[in-house]
Subunit: 396 residues, 2 copies
Amino acid sequence: MSSSTSSSPQESVRRQNLGALLRYIHVRGATSRAELTNRLGLNRSTIGALTADLATAGLIDEGVPHETGRAGRPSIVVRPRSSRVYGYAMSLELDRLRAARVGLGGRILDERTAARPGGTDPAPTLAALAGLVAELQDSVVIDAADAVFVGSGLAVSASVRHHLGWADETIEPALASALAPHLAPAAGPFVGGLADLAALAEHTRGAAAGADNVIYLHGDAGISAGIIAGGRRITGYGGHGGEVGHMVVNPGGRLCGCGSRGCWETEIGERALLHLAGRTVPTAGAAVAATVIAAQDGDEGARAAVAHAADWLGFGVANLVNIFNPTVVVFGGTLRELYLSAADHVRHRLYTMALPACRAHVALHTPQLGADAPLVGAAELAFESLLADPLYAAKL
Amino acid sequence: MSSSTSSSPQESVRRQNLGALLRYIHVRGATSRAELTNRLGLNRSTIGALTADLATAGLIDEGVPHETGRAGRPSIVVRPRSSRVYGYAMSLELDRLRAARVGLGGRILDERTAARPGGTDPAPTLAALAGLVAELQDSVVIDAADAVFVGSGLAVSASVRHHLGWADETIEPALASALAPHLAPAAGPFVGGLADLAALAEHTRGAAAGADNVIYLHGDAGISAGIIAGGRRITGYGGHGGEVGHMVVNPGGRLCGCGSRGCWETEIGERALLHLAGRTVPTAGAAVAATVIAAQDGDEGARAAVAHAADWLGFGVANLVNIFNPTVVVFGGTLRELYLSAADHVRHRLYTMALPACRAHVALHTPQLGADAPLVGAAELAFESLLADPLYAAKL
């Protein structure tokens, strides 16, 4: 409603069309004008005018296709200027920090990783993240006049939120201050949950592309979910939805750090697996992989632990499938290894426990974007302002 | 995108504004032009032109307020023509059928109830529903030329879907055929889950008005949920989401009809309550109320059964609060009585089990629209086409 008062109807429709076109090539990559005409339901001259505007703003390139096997004049191809239109994506994980420069089209152009500073004060962590971004920025070699910096986004592991009690509302302004000396003014930094943003990335351009009802499960010390329902991210009132690790599945189970008994993560989390296998592996991230390998090598304790965890993994997935009726479930983080090592177990539980109508169309996948999914998702937050209004955002 | 090709940008903006204005008074009721100007962010002359169009289409009335205590010229009040712009709402419940004529603004103008025909063939049930609608239609006394019939919607209990295996895809065309002889062509019939539509009604104009993250729990023979997340209904890929009754909460519990053990509805459903209380009451709908009254009258068995069910009710709600981070949970159907009889029990479980961040802003409510919530929600489906494009729909 507000746009109709601030600009003419024609201008408002033009902005919508520019956004739709740029979003299309951001998601699908290089696309011919003929396909854009077809997919966006606009005529050729309108598409030509829109791509001219976007090219002038430095957001796309147009040219002949790299190769053409067909006779006749080939349709001009529109490409996102991935190396020149970029955002910064960061992830705050339990044991490490990551930052990446991500180009339009969701391409990771460059990245840095560091250990997460210890302690409960967020300041050193945010300074370290800003330091990684500064390093990335220093190595950008393109001419600033020809570059479009759109903004930044951060994915925060739910385990970090819980263990350290850091709320998004406090992280956002502190991160903005830490980044300010290094970056030109732009959108963000936006902060979201790691599983939420991984879900967004896999939904936009990964294992769940084209699916509107998706559950992305991320395992590290805890278990959390990113939910896409009806094509949109579902995060709840305060952004705290998706805490599936604290869905109680086994009221007679072990005590959880949250105070409840038999939370899902006490049955399938890293610590549960190690405990059951009678193992102690100091490096958190590698513990599940090590247990899974031991199980495959015939270690009976490890094998029993993996079977137990896989069984409860399928159990919890069945509950979520009954609640959400999704078409894709993606297993990320430590759950990727666990799922791959005992997919039959997981499927068996799902198929015997979930209602036929709810599970009828469910596919189980691992992340197509691998461990980069949270970064690519954090970048989507930064690109969102650009896609909503390409010319306005490009002027920032 | 398609609207921009089929009409001019100005026309497309005008339709959007007409829809926004009509939606506002549909949800809020009679509203002064001054408030509309303020809330919709449009100027006075635009509001005047829009209300003139809607009045000409027979959708609203304009006039001076019924009473005014203020000095000066009162702002003209815009009212929905509730008695002349209407849809038909139906509900297919476990033990009864209902149909209502619902006016713009969500007002039930007239209604009929009948017992649900037995058997597994949907035809007699749909014929009976169509019969109720025909009765309602026959008693409409307004001049057809001055009436606007917008369409119809049906709310189906999840228990009926399960027990009889009726899918929405088969109900929709069969209901359309049954209704066709009685009604003018219009939108629908749309079919939705009873809990989903009750959630929509309470979200639009009831206990959850203004809340964007809502869980509506409906109890009859089973338990199902209607979910509003980010302001929208969440129903999953095939409309089968919200099957929270088959979330397993107690793996050591009793066998459920679905084949699993310890489903939520085996702990808090009607049959569980009667079993625990050692009671057998033939009338399904009244069983929970009877048990609750017996408990209040000091019957020890009934008291223990209510305490058990209330405890597990809070348990499941805590799981859902962790998953959805809602601000409102509404207890409908038989869960209304159960919740009211042991609210402290439910709250205690919720507050000890759910994560503080997820439950921080949760309010627990009973339905403001009472047992009418599913009908009012089914009517919302019928009104949706009108609100999306008032002038086009009004011409139907």
